[in-house]
């Protein structure tokens, strides 16, 4: 029953405040209710009103009505403190599971200053921010990650009780942050069977001294490892070039899911992740083989990303 109500609520929110990279808070997106402090204040006013009636005291009546009227004024001020704020999602990069993902958010004020806006995901600490009048305020929110795959963020709650704390105005926004979470790396020895020639000890050495395999230069392409850039040529003003090495077939390593000896799939993927990082650190070419996925051996930032992405999404539905 509760789950159904929750689902209905989520659906209703999705229709009312559809996910968007940027949005402006307005009356359709802002909810407002008296806070507990506000309810307590109303109780106080009731007691004061009874006092005014019993003592037939005009000035106590006057004070009570002033404060009641102030309550009404506070409703609008609280609403206006949140209204017309423009939110814009910026960035959000991939992290490994267990890390905090940084999410960029820019709040913009059209005209008025917006004070003490609190941003928070359910169960997480709130971040308080002031937005200066007619200006922007950029901030980075952090959200913990638990498992690999596309991080599905709950709606971000942006609320304010300013100025008097008697009302809480809030909105629940989905800023459509797309964050890929890679599996949490698990350190494990590289698969022995896959090591070529069984001479692991010489491997890094051979790699670093692989000058013999140097084939020439080609124009830089995004994704090429920085270590292979020909800085000397670049400093001569000949443009950015990458050194091309002959890919020694016997030295490329296949990272295969079958070779990972974890307790379950997640741990195996974690091991593969660890291996990918290890291979990158050692600048050795590697291929990735998962059931239904085959990534030819290569090396470099782009290759690393492709592999990690495959590992993150393996067996999961890709996000639309």
């Amino acid at each position: 029953m509760r789950a159904r109500a929750r689902r209905w609520h989520q659906g209703w929110l999705r229709r009312r405040i559809p996910p968007a990279r940027s949005l402006r808070l307005d009356h359709r997106r802002i909810f407002i209710l008296p806070s507990r402090a506000g309810m307590a204040f109303l109780l106080l006013l009731l007691i004061m009103l009874i006092g005014a009636i019993n003592y037939q005291n005009s000035l106590v009546y006057g004070l009570t009505f002033t404060l009641l009227s102030l309550f009404w004024v506070a409703l609008h001020h609280t609403y206006r403190n949140l209204a017309a704020v423009q939110l814009r999602a910026t960035g959000g990069r991939a992290v490994f599971a267990g890390e905090q993902v940084p999410l960029g958010l820019t709040l913009r004020s059209e005209r008025r200053e917006h004070q003490a806006l609190k941003l928070r995901w359910p169960g997480l600490d709130a971040v308080s921010v002031d937005v200066p009048a007619g200006d922007e305020q950029a901030l980075t929110l952090f959200h913990p990650t638990e498992r690999r795959g596309w991080l599905v963020l709950e709606r971000l709650r942006i609320e304010t009780r300013y100025p008097l704390g008697w009302f809480v105005a809030w909105s629940l926004v989905d800023l459509d942050w797309q964050v890929l979470v890679y599996p949490k790396p698990v350190s494990a020895p590289l698969p022995v069977g896959a090591a070529p020639d069984g001479e692991e000890g010489d491997q890094p050495h051979a790699q670093q001294e692989g000058v013999a395999d140097f084939q020439g230069l080609r124009a830089y392409r995004p994704g090429d490892s920085r270590r292979r850039l020909d800085w000397r040529a670049w400093s001569r003003g000949q443009g950015l070039h990458s050194k091309v090495f002959a890919e020694p077939q016997q030295q490329s390593l296949w990272l295969d899911l079958a070779a990972a000896a974890g307790r379950d799939l997640e741990e195996c993927l974690g091991m593969l992740t660890g291996w990918v990082l290890e291979m990158e650190r050692e600048q050795r070419p590697y291929g990735l083989s998962l059931p239904g996925v085959r990534i030819e051996p290569a090396q470099g930032d782009r290759h690393r990303e492709v592999c990690l992405r495959a590992l993150a999404l393996y067996g999961l539905e890709a996000r639309a």
Binding site: R24, H27, A37, I53, Q56, T64, L70, R80, S128
Partner: protein, 670 residues
């Protein structure tokens, strides 16, 4: 929230608010209360500066216990309004020391609002009311400080916002004040004890009223429907004194307690309104034979009016007096007659002998009374604020030896002689005359207008009033005490600062009367605005006293104010910027609903391309708008000319847009 610290701004304003809120109460409290507050505030500041810690549990419990004891010792009780307010004030201070988080601070602020209200139970003057506005602003500023981000450090801004919000609250407050139905008290309550004030007492001994006549304080104000009667008619009765113990005249509860009897009223009606200053007693001031339909007061058997509750604050009432009033013309009940002839056996033998002599000379009561008045008029009696002290037989000494006295001497002696001669008589105390405030057209009656005169019951005429003082000093009745005392120079001799002394300096007098007029209007229109006045207002404005119709009118008025305010506050923000920017924003808003709003970092060409893709049927309109837009934004054309073309193209595009988002085109982005 509960673990958060109290922001600096909030604490600053909170301490400020405590000073402002406590100050009006301090004069009524022992001196150590102020010292205690200073101690608590200093401690709290040290806590904030992380120098000192919070007091421990034992200290807090001890403080609470001591507070209770202190209140009991100073007030003699723990219940009752004075004790409750004092307890509240002490808790308000002590709470500072256990204020850890914003929630505690909220409790202190709410207590502050409550204490703000209690001050009005003790004083309702204009100065205090204005002062309390400051208190309200500071309390609201503390509330704002509590909500501000902790890092903010601009306390004046909080104060400005607080003042602005309170001003915005005024229209609705006025409506509620005027129209909220004034209900009768829900249960009986104890009123604040009146401080000892100068004023009439319920007994009268020689020199009592002469002392009172040194006081420039206000007793009450009165206004009339129509002309103000001449001073000789302005005998304001407060009470009658029928018991005499040889020295002091006092009230006879039995005679007052009776129902008013056999009063015949005729002639022109004179409606008047009185606003009495608080006395802590319940007597009121009325002209002879007055009737009142106010439910808050009742008529007594001796033709005076009493309030049902002691006056702890200003009290207003209306009454009607008549030109001709005859009271108990057909006779007095025997027991009443006996009580009105009562005299102590062994006092004033010379006066008794004189009374018997007069009785033998005049068989008619009326002639005897006139003979007495003539006696005061013709013999060398002297009217003075500095009468000599009198011994055991005060009437004898006054009548035959000193012959110098104030009104109470004349009234007491005359009543004594009449009673000794067998004529029922009593002393009446109250006020006589009053000062006209020409600005407001009302009378100011001061304590120095206090007066005593007599009433005698004459066969065939009933009760008749006589004023022996008039025989001695007619100027006292016709032109007031100052005139009567001009020769003696004793008017307000003990009160050098009293405004009434400086009537001769016209600008001082003007200032005094203007200020008094403001005060009187305040009392009439604000303090005295209770159910009667409210109903009268409804009748005048709405022509009805039917609560249902009033309700409809009131609710629609309140609703109207609320709607107007809401429209002002919530009106859609006007977008700012150049015409091109405005057009861009409008398009963005409209397309945002279709999920096609401009993306972060997207330029006009990119957006245009994306829109062409998503809305193939509107391509012409899209191109039309974007071409104009780019022309205006980037080609330096005359603004007016470009705008003339931009607006229609925007309208065309907006009109052509579909209501719902079109299905995404199958092909991917190019």
């Amino acid at each position: 929230m509960s673990t958060a610290l109290i922001p600096r701004n909030a604490l600053a304003w909170l301490l400020g608010a405590q000073v402002v809120v406590l100050l009006p109460h301090l004069p009524r409290l022992p001196w150590w209360v102020a010292v205690l507050w200073l101690g608590c505030a200093a401690w709290r500041v040290q806590i904030q500066r992380m120098r000192w810690g919070y007091p421990g549990r034992i200290l807090r419990a001890g403080g609470l216990l001591l507070t209770g004891v202190a209140v009991f010792v100073t007030q003699g009780t723990l219940i009752g309004l004075d004790a409750t307010v004092m307890l509240l004030l002490l808790l308000f201070m002590l709470k500072l020391l256990e204020m850890r988080n914003p929630r505690d601070a909220l409790v202190v602020i709410y207590l502050g609002f409550f204490i703000l209200a209690t001050a009005f139970l003790f004083d309702q003057g204009i100065p205090l009311t204005l002062y309390q506005c400051v208190g309200a602003v500071v309390l609201v500023a503390a509330l704002i400080g509590l909500q501000q981000s902790p890092a903010r450090n601009d306390p004046w801004r909080a104060l400005r916002s607080a003042a602005a919000m309170l001003l915005q609250a005024l229209p609705l407050m006025l409506l509620m004040f005027l129209f909220f139905p004034r209900l009768a008290p829900l249960w009986t309550i104890n009123l604040p004890s009146a401080e000892s004030r100068t004023g009439l007492s319920d007994t009268m001994a020689p020199a009592d009223i002469a002392n009172l006549a040194q006081s420039p304080e206000l007793a009450f104000r009165a206004s009339f429907e129509g002309d103000i009667p001449p001073p000789s008619r302005l005998y304001w009765r407060a009470m009658t004194l029928s018991r005499f113990d040889g020295r002091v005249w006092s009230q006879d509860r039995l005679l007052e307690g009776r129902q008013p009897q056999a009063v015949e009223r005729s002639g022109a009606a004179l409606e008047y309104q009185v606003v009495a200053q608080p006395t802590g007693r319940n007597w009121l001031y009325s002209l002879p034979g007055s009737v009142s339909d106010s439910p808050e007061l009742r008529a007594m058997g001796d033709d005076t009016l009493r309030a049902k509750r002691p006056l702890s604050s200003t009290f207003g009432y209306t009454a009607t007096a008549y030109e001709h009033v005859q009271r108990q013309r057909d006779g007095l009940p025997d027991d009443e007659r006996q009580r009105l002839l009562q005299l102590p056996e062994d006092s004033d033998p010379r006066s008794r002998a004189w009374a018997e002599e007069l009785r033998q000379r005049y068989s008619s009561d009326a002639e005897l009374v006139n003979a007495l008045l003539r006696h005061f008029n013709q013999q060398p009696y002297h009217y003075t604020l500095r009468p000599p002290t009198l011994g055991r037989h005060s009437n004898d000494e006054f009548l035959f030896d000193t012959r110098r006295g104030f009104c109470e001497h004349y009234a007491g002696a005359m009543t004594f002689v009449l009673r000794a001669a067998g004529i029922p008589a009593r002393v009446v105390t109250g006020y006589q005359g009053g000062e006209l405030n020409p600005r407001g057209g009302y009378l100011l009656v001061h304590q120095f207008d206090a007066h005593a005169w007599i009433e005698a019951w004459l066969p065939g005429q009933g009760w008749q009033s006589f004023d022996p003082t008039f025989q001695v000093a007619p100027s006292r009745i016709e032109r007031g005490l100052e005139e009567a005392m001009r020769e003696e120079g004793s008017f307000l001799a003990d009160a050098p600062l009293a405004g009434s002394r400086y009537r001769d300096i016209s600008w001082v007098n003007n200032l005094r009367l203007t200020w008094d007029d403001i005060n009187y209007q305040w009392q009439l229109r604000v303090l005295n605005f209770q159910s009667e006045e409210q109903l009268a207002l409804f009748k005048r404005w709405l022509g009805t006293a039917d609560w249902r119709r009033i309700g409809v009118v009131v609710l629609s008025l309140v609703g109207l104010v609320m709607v107007v305010q809401a429209l002002i506050w919530l009106r859609p923000r006007r977008l700012s910027g150049s015409p091109a920017q405005l057009a861009w924003q409008r398009l963005d808003q409209r397309l945002g609903k279709l999920g096609l709003g401009v993306r972060a970092g997207e330029g006009p060409r990119d957006w245009q391309a994306r829109l062409r893709q998503a809305l193939p049927q509107q391509r012409a309109a899209i191109d039309g708008f974007f071409d104009r837009f780019i022309e205006q934004s980037y080609a330096q054309r005359q603004p007016g000319e470009a705008q003339a073309q931009l607006q229609p193209s925007l309208q065309t595009l907006l009109r052509s847009l579909p209501r719902r988002r079109p299905p995404a085109p199958s092909q991917a982005l190019d």
